[in-house]
């Protein structure tokens, strides 16, 4: 298997706070990969570094063999990396279907003239995009909410909508930032099924998650961050038995 995402020696500090220091990660294509660690370990910072929100102090990030560090966020998104956010960033006052249509933005073709004049080509494309958006909503289990404002949906539905919006860009890599936060046990089970279904469509998934039950049952590989450093990486069973991980989570043995 080849690595779809390779992170090499990535460091990022904010003033005196070292959020990431020398992190190496390699995510195989077609896998479900978890990043875990205590609060403040640098997990979300790592996502922001991958999507180009932060510039790196040092290190490189490569996606599908090409460097992506230093590129603007929208270019990285167009290369095929989509994400969701820890504190939901939906377009709240737009309808659910419009949210998904915006996700399709980079996949739609169209010149300025098409947009200005509403050419038949633009309209045909628009209809096709709308149908695909409906299909994505169905795929995540949101069938009848298309016209509702995103902010009026239930919390669980908003989480799903964010995933649908991310999938609409037809990414090869999907980054999920705490997708199960705030979900009840039933919704968590459905989420796990959804993530597997996404992987089965050929999308590699990296997720940040605190729910160990979910992580252990869902993911093939796990990396553990603590204080900005990667302290372990491996299969779920290896991680569970790793003394450094236990120490990071429970504190040093007395």
């Amino acid at each position: 298997m080849t690595a779809l995402l390779s992170i090499d020696g990535v460091s990022k500090s904010f003033g005196a706070v070292c959020a990431l220091s020398g992190v190496d990660l390699s995510v195989d294509a077609g896998s479900i990969f978890a990043i875990i660690g205590p609060n403040g370990a640098g997990k979300s910072t790592l996502f922001n570094a991958i999507t180009g929100i932060y510039t790196l102090d040092s290190g490189t990030i490569a996606f599908d063999g090409r460097r992506i560090d230093g590129l603007p966020t929208f270019v990285i998104a167009r290369r095929g990396i989509a994400r969701t956010f820890q504190n939901l960033r939906l377009f709240g006052f737009l309808s659910a279907i419009d949210n998904v249509l915006i996700g399709e933005h980079a996949r739609m073709r169209g010149t300025l003239v098409d947009s200005l004049l509403g050419t038949p080509r633009a309209r045909a494309q628009e209809r096709a995009a709308r149908e695909r958006a409906r299909a994505w909503l169905d795929f995540v289990g949101l069938n009848d909410v298309g016209e509702q404002f995103a902010r009026n949906l239930s919390y669980g539905a908003q989480r799903r909508l964010e995933i649908a919006r991310a999938l609409a860009s037809q990414p090869r890599l999907l980054l999920l930032d705490e997708p199960a936060a705030g979900l009840n046990p039933t919704e968590k089970r459905e989420l796990a099924d959804l993530v597997r279904a996404i992987r089965d469509r050929g999308v590699t998934v990296v997720l940040i998650e605190h729910d160990m039950g979910l992580v252990m049952s869902l993911c093939e590989r796990i990396a553990v961050l603590d204080h900005g450093e990667k302290i372990a990486q491996g299969a779920p069973a290896e991680i569970r038995a790793n003394p450094a991980v236990i120490e990071a989570y429970l504190g040093a043995p007395a």
Binding site: F74, F91, F93, G103, H105, G110, D114, S115, G118, Q125
Partner: protein, 357 residues
């Protein structure tokens, strides 16, 4: 009569907006267009069409500013600058000043392009700014452009350029009547409203809405936010370039004092009154505010003079009256008279959170 025309037009567009059937919509729009085209041949009072043509220019301007502020959510307080650039384009290209006499119709395109370009020139360095900061920079730009015209002797300095060419169509001069300009603005509004409607439903229009809602999330969707915002500035500016040409040709002169800050504020007030982001709202808001100053207040003056035998000139207080209207709107209906669905929810929610916190 003017109120009958305007109220009938407003009623027609509101019905069009509320109707679902596409066929009924088209039928009403066709009937409206036909009526508006026939009216000048029935009603021969030129003063009416003088007022309507001026109002029409402001409808075009408001539709342009709506792209920038309503669709893309970029607060532009210097929009009159692009209006000035359009008007001066006509002044320079169709007057004895430089001995250049290009046809009106050609200048419409040139001015739209010039204003659009100016939009890009202003936008490129400033669009990294957000909210209040962007507003302040555009405010500055709005002040600088008339100042530059004022201090450039080649374009007449504070006197501006006079004796502009009278446009002609198919060999017939527009002459001194207002009716030809009325027709030009009707055509201009139809064009600009149609383009704005297409944009609102397009990939580009959605990208603007995404930026307005959450710029960071928009970037993650693969939207090139800088280019997308520049497009809003350029397109909005080009609409006002068109309006500027019609305005200058009708007036027969341009001078820097026609494009002061209050013009930008007036156009913005039209959006606020009608409902930002909503085409119908913007058309209605701009018609109402234009007519308030040019027709309604003088009429009220006349009524007061004849009944109370007092001479007051309410037009001197028009800014006070706009102010009162705007405050009332902000208090009772922050989303404007005829908002679109998204903005109604957003502005209403914003007003409620502000008052309750």
């Amino acid at each position: 009569m003017i109120y009958v025309y305007v109220l009938a037009t407003i009623a027609a567009v509101v019905i069009v907006e509320r109707t679902r059937s596409r066929r009924v919509k088209l039928a009403i729009l066709a009937a409206l267009a036909l009526t508006l085209a026939i009216v000048p041949f029935v009603d021969r009072t030129d003063a009416t069409f003088n007022v309507l043509a001026d109002a029409g220019v402001f409808v075009m301007l408001a539709l342009g500013l709506n792209i920038v502020v309503g669709y893309a959510g970029l607060l532009d307080l210097g929009y009159a600058a692009f209006f000035a650039i359009g008007a001066y384009a006509y002044g320079i290209l169709a007057s004895p000043q430089f001995g250049v006499h290009l046809p009106f119709w050609a200048i419409l395109f040139i001015a739209a392009a010039c204003a659009g370009l100016a939009g890009i020139v202003l936008g490129a360095p400033t669009l990294r700014l957000h909210g209040d900061y962007l507003a302040i920079v555009t405010l500055g730009f709005g002040e600088i452009v008339p100042q530059v015209f004022q201090n450039t002797q080649a374009v007449g300095g504070p006197n501006g350029i006079a004796a502009l060419d009278v446009p002609s169509a198919l060999g017939h001069s527009f002459g001194t009547a207002a009716v030809p300009y009325y027709f030009v603005t009707l055509g201009g509004i139809a064009l600009v409203a149609w383009v704005a409607r297409n944009l609102g439903r397009s990939r580009l229009g959605r990208a603007w809405m995404a930026i307005r809602e959450d710029e960071l999330a928009a970037k993650h969707m693969g939207i090139d936010t800088t280019r997308t915002k520049l497009a809003a500035f350029a397109i909005g500016a080009s609409f006002s370039g068109l309006g500027g040409v019609i305005f200058a040709a009708k007036l027969g002169l341009v001078s820097p004092d026609l494009f002061q800050f209050q013009v930008s504020v007036l156009i913005l007030s039209m959006l606020v009154l009608g409902g930002m982001g909503s085409l119908i709202g913007v058309v209605v808001g701009s018609l109402v505010l234009s007519l308030l100053n040019s027709a309604l207040l003088p009429n009220i003056n006349a009524v007061i003079a004849s009944t109370l035998h007092v001479n007051v000139d309410l037009t001197n207080y028009h800014f006070l009256i706009y102010g009162v209207i705007l405050v009332a709107i902000m208090l009772f209906r922050p989303e404007g008279f005829l908002p679109n669905r998204e903005r109604r929810a957003e502005l209403h929610a914003a007003a409620i959170t502000e008052t309750s916190s």
